[in-house]
Amino acid sequence: MSEPAQKPAYELLGLKKKEYDGICDAMGREPNYVELAVFSLMWSEHCGYKHSRPLLKHLPTEGERILQGPGENAGVIDIGEGRAIAMKIESHNHPSAIEPFQGAATGIGGIVRDIFAMGARPIANLDPLHFGSLDKARQRFLLEGVVEGIAAYGNCMGIPTIGGEIHFEDPYEGNCLVNVMCVGMVENDKILRARAEGPGNLVVLFGSTTGRDGIGGASILASAEFDESAEEKRPTVQVGDPFTEKKLLEASLEMRDKGLLVALQDLGAAGISSSSSEMASKGGVGIDIDISRVPLREQGMEPFEIMISESQERMLAVVTPENEQAVLDTCAKWDLDATVVGKVTDTRRLRVFDGDELIGDMPVTALVDEAPTYVVDTVRPAHEVDEPLAGDHYPEPKDYSEVLTALLASPNICSKRWVYEQYDHMVQTNNALWPGGAAAVLRIKGSDTGIAVTTDGNGRHCYLDPRRGARAVVAEAARNISCVGAEPVAITNCLNFGNPEKGEIYHQFREAVEGMGEACEALGTPVTGGNVSFYNESFGQAIYPNPVVGMMGIVDDVRLIQDHSFKDEGDVILLLGGARPAVDGSEYQLVVHGEVAGRIPDVDLEMEKQLQKLVRAGILEGKIKSAHDVSSGGIACCVAEAAIAGGAGADIELETDGLRPDLLLFGEAPGLIVVTVAGADADAFIAAAGDVPAQRIGRVAGGALRFRADGEELASMPVADAAGAWGSALEKILEH
């Protein structure tokens, strides 16, 4: 075999020639291997946000309650009475596709560290997940592994996993999405930040030892240097250690309480390189790191490996020399290794020492803030069309009951109990609503306040129209929050897309980010941070463009919240909102007609605001006895779910108003909420609805679901049958 032509090292590290030239410019010379390794990661898409930064800049990030927007480890939102919520969402898609259990577990580990790096105690996790169809054994394996990994890590940490979503569809077959969100609570005066300050202060590394984990692509540097068969020594999969992370959490918060920390930062992608340089950048200082002091778990590690290792369960703190001993003592109390590995300088450079020897010297600003950015020419994909499908595009189904049963049993609609029963969703004893509803609600101990959290995404809708889709996703998240009675306050987002260097993907990304910004602006829910995951494609097949929104809301009196279950016989069922359901992009379209096509309806954001306000007020006044937003499966599934949850039947009578009954029942459109009120309150409620369309569509009655349109019966079944189809579908598929 002939020697392949040797490519330059920077290229093997994923840098372009121009980028390499940029590094040389910033350095004033050619970088050595240590510096090149550090730059290649800091200027990677993952750390450098090369394709996303120019667009993310335009997202709205300010609001009265926002104590910390993007730019720190997590966003922080004031919830009153001196308390704040830290939240952040992140993806761990690629590692989970390789090793689902450990990939998902370490995903939880990473996002949890981001939260306690802010000084907040994690109080909840959420996990939006996307896989290919469960017909395939590999997809079932991924689902089981991911859920077990999240359970193993989150349960051990004692953080309840209280929400998320799960979607199955072919475009995710080669690229599952494993997004994880963590929510934490912090008193306003205890918020920590990652700003290194005070030249002369010490940099302390604590937590796990450092190994060769996650060296990944950079390992070629080692082979370039040594040419040994060192390759297989470098595991690409990382193993999570939730017990160590639990100790890391407790030790960090104890140091916070004792006021020992100038700054705190977790070690994530690019390890010590990124955490130290980002801390230095935020504080406008420099940092010296002595890699010879880093506790290692493997022998013979190269300096560059120590600098970029992504070993899990490690934190970096800046502390004053006076507090050094107290910090080391606290770590010892929690049986954690802690070592002073460097100090803060006024050089604004990241300098790397191996003992006394200077082996790397890089300008912090260039590393952190000067990664090149790219704007790609957009191309609108051919499947995006201007017109929705005609109302009679598909044949009308003959048996509506059959359709309803099929939709309720669709893995995208059915009960997710199989998943959330594997998560400890009760630990910390704060959940005022149990999983399965629109949004999870946590009481804040020691106050009347509650917070509601949800995650939402809809890749299929975003595929058909990324701008409308992203607008609808934000509106849906807010609708979920409003349906429990809480006021939407802020979001964090995880932007999952294909390869942004392609015009069609960049188009989707740009449209989605702009759409998200529009909706956040209109609904008053600024973006507090997030994460971008590109290159979710394999064999040229990209995932659906999939922005995921994690939203938080506040309710002043948590005792007033409401759930989605039908309550009492005779309660009047109302449909609120004026949107017209459509087949385009609906679960009905895919399950029954086997297609994804057309154009989704746009959300009317002004109407949305009023609709949600009406519902919140109705709940807080005690008028609304249940609220459930219409989403996958349309009005029929919405009503069925509320009936199943309440163990009560419903008699529904709709007017078609020119819409074919299948679209009316099963079609989807953003901006509809089904609520119940006591019979005696119904007229007054409708009269007070103002501009928000409010129509009586039936009553809570008996033990069966009955749907009629214009007087003609379409579907009927006992609630028990609906509950059976909905409740056991996932188990049946997985236990086949």
Partner: protein, 79 residues
Amino acid sequence: MKAKVYITPKAGILDPQGVTIERSLPALGFEGVHNVRVGKYIELELPAGDGAAEAVDQMCQKLLANPIIEDFEFELVPE
């Protein structure tokens, strides 16, 4: 015949169980123990025959071990 399967964490892969046990041993009065690695030991019985080794190898690859993070070895013991 009987198969004995030994599964160990791959070299270089963190073994949190091993680390935790190692840290706790001194408190029990066992000093100087290191490199604790925790794996699995599986015994099973299967029909004797030429294909037995191949079958066990396949079982390990597909089900018993996770080849991404674990190594395995096995031996066959006639009964």
